[in-house]
Symmetry: C2
Subunit: 350 residues, 2 copies
DNA sequence: TTACCTAGCGAAAACGTTTTCGTGTTAAGA
DNA sequence: TCTTAACACGAAAACGTTTTCGCTAGGTAA
């Protein structure tokens, strides 16, 4: 087992100085053709590669991006990571992942672990607990220390940083309009409590779509689920709540669910109640994940283009990192990119 | 914007030496109570944190684990990452993720990027292309340079490293035995071509289960799918193949699918052909993902405990890293941990 | 008084690079 | 022969730590 070879070892072996080796490997004109060849041959033989850590220390940058997301076992977030990784790698960066698990403390700790030199900047989506507590000091501190952040999906406006968001309102509008245009008169929404920003926005889109078509929203058709129910353990509670919704509103002919799970659960319940889909009940969901595509009936859904979001976020971050490099005057102008959604029509609507 | 403060700056500010500051912060007895308090107060005020990169360089270890997986938009792999991240964080390590995208080249490049000092060891699952080409030099080279590897799920025996694998054979046996015990007489398997190691093993389990029950396997009931069809674009081809299987074998009353997608697709096709599930056709799948749980009917499935695999892999790797540290004599004894599967019974079987 | 100990601190090396700034040798020009 | 310039290379600093080893001043023991 031979350890990784260093410049020093090569220098010693060839009886030249470290500087000479370094220069020879970088094809400096200062070094004679002879020496250069000798060094390069030797380096190749021993498979020399510069030590990244030493380079990071010297250059004061790591060429690594830190990602903090609430969870990874989630179609949308893993798609985003795929996108980030794609452009990061293309542009010579690595990606280091921290999971907040929707917890404020873990988010803070994870950011501290990474902010001490391990990475050049963050791409993150805020934990639910953080959104609830509205404590964002760890973000501002990080930014104040000169480390740029790009937020995606779950963002807060008061933080000065680039952001990549989904057009939740319009996405929801598209979904509801689809239901309206196919003849639904009583459209229910299954959404989350308002502190989940995306839930709130999608609810808003739902209301706007109804308003645009002169339909008066009924509060009995708006079901707000306590978000913790997303965890699988509470699936039965979720089912009960939805069943209650259907039973007390027999006239429902369309459902807009703000995520896949709510949608498939709604379908499951509806079937149990003898409703036929899409004939007597149409369903549209948000988030185009594996469930939408492969459940029966497959779901008409609003696609958020997670990968594209990741790609954009990575580009924004790296652009800013490399701009700082040349122009020490950083402009404090931050961008908010909105990624448009698409409505993907499948079997759950007419 | 104030940049991160360093020992040097604190030293200058307080008019002491760098060594004194360092020692004071680490509560060395060499430093007087007075100085210690002064330094610690100052450090706290300016929120001093040691620079990770400098520590990594000095200690010759990064406290970071490199993960290379074929893809991340996949329930099993993201579960594994969750597990790795969990114990890594608990034990003071970070996690850096590389995606091979099932490509040999990307696997090699990713490993090279990380192996140059960025990480202390790898946890990985081999890309399909690598398995096909059977070129494993990048693994042996990494190991020869003194960097430990832990492989999980898709492993090759000839590489000297710790491994964490699923008991695919027994998992498949459990699945098939479930079908047999509920009265199935003609059990088909939908699997992958043999170069995918896990597909091969699950097929083997299927055959063994049949044999154990004196059932003669029929080659017409074994459908081997070209694995590239897993990508969504080829869904229709997959459907056609399965339809063909059912049509030419009307007597099939049980299906064992080696992954969720094959299973739900089989169910879809079966329904189209008028088969009732689980009454006239029972289905068991491998991999307990989101589809199994939430599709209708929900799937009886073999759970691989991805998170547990991740946790175990991380523990194995970190144990080895910290063993190297104390005892320079590394024992070249590698462990292969087998994680048992569980059969989770749901609606797709009787 | 001499010798010695100890508390408290600083200098310097080391981790592996890159880069700036010498410096010595040789050959060409005057 | 002397000056100068090009050439080829080396020394050293810097990135931010930790740690070993010395050093000094003051105190204690003989």
């Amino acid at each position: 087992m031979r350890r990784k070879v260093t410049l020093k070892q090569i220098a010693k072996e060839l009886d030249v100085s470290i500087s000479t080796v370094s220069k020879a490997l970088r094809n400096s004109i200062e070094i004679s053709e002879d020496t250069r060849q000798k060094v390069q041959a030797f380096a190749k033989l021993y498979n020399y590669r510069p030590n990244n850590i030493a380079l990071s220390l010297k250059n004061r940058k790591t060429k690594t991006i830190g990602i903090i997301i609430p969870e990874i076992v989630h179609h949308f977030f893993s798609k985003v990571i795929t996108g980030i990784e794609l452009v990061a790698n293309k542009r010579g960066y690595n990606v280091i992942v921290g999971l907040s698990n929707e917890s404020f403390d873990k988010e803070v700790i994870n950011m501290q672990m990474l902010a001490n030199g391990s990475i050049d900047g963050f791409i993150l989506s805020i934990a639910k607990e953080t959104l609830q507590q509205q404590d964002y000091h760890h973000f501002t501190e990080t930014i104040n220390q000169g480390m740029p952040i790009v937020m995606f999906d779950r963002v807060v406006n008061e933080i000065p940083c680039d952001k990549v968001i989904v057009d939740d309102i319009n996405g929801a509008k598209k979904a509801v309009e689809k239901l309206i245009s196919t003849g639904c008169k009583n459209i229910a929404i299954i959404t989350t409590k308002d502190y989940v920003s995306v839930g709130k926005l999608r609810t808003q889109g739902y209301l706007e779509a109804l308003e645009d078509h002169k339909i008066h929203p009924k509060s009995s058709l708006i079901l707000k689920i306590e978000d913790k129910l997303l965890s699988d353990d509470h699936l039965d509670i979720l089912e009960k709540e939805i069943e209650q919704l259907f039973k007390s509103n027999k006239s429902i002919d369309g459902v807009f669910a703000v995520n896949e799970l709510y949608a498939v659960t709604a379908i499951k319940v509806a079937r149990k109640l003898g409703l036929e889909i899409p004939k007597s009940l149409q369903v549209v969901s948000f988030t185009d994940g594996v469930l939408s595509k492969h459940s029966t009936p497959s779901l008409t859904t609003v696609s958020q283009h997670g990968q594209q979001i990741g790609e954009k976020a990575a580009d924004l971050l790296i652009n800013r990192l490399e701009l700082e490099e040349t122009d020490e005057e950083e402009e404090e102008i931050y961008e908010t990119v909105i990624i448009e959604t698409d409505l993907i029509e499948r079997e759950s609507t007419k």
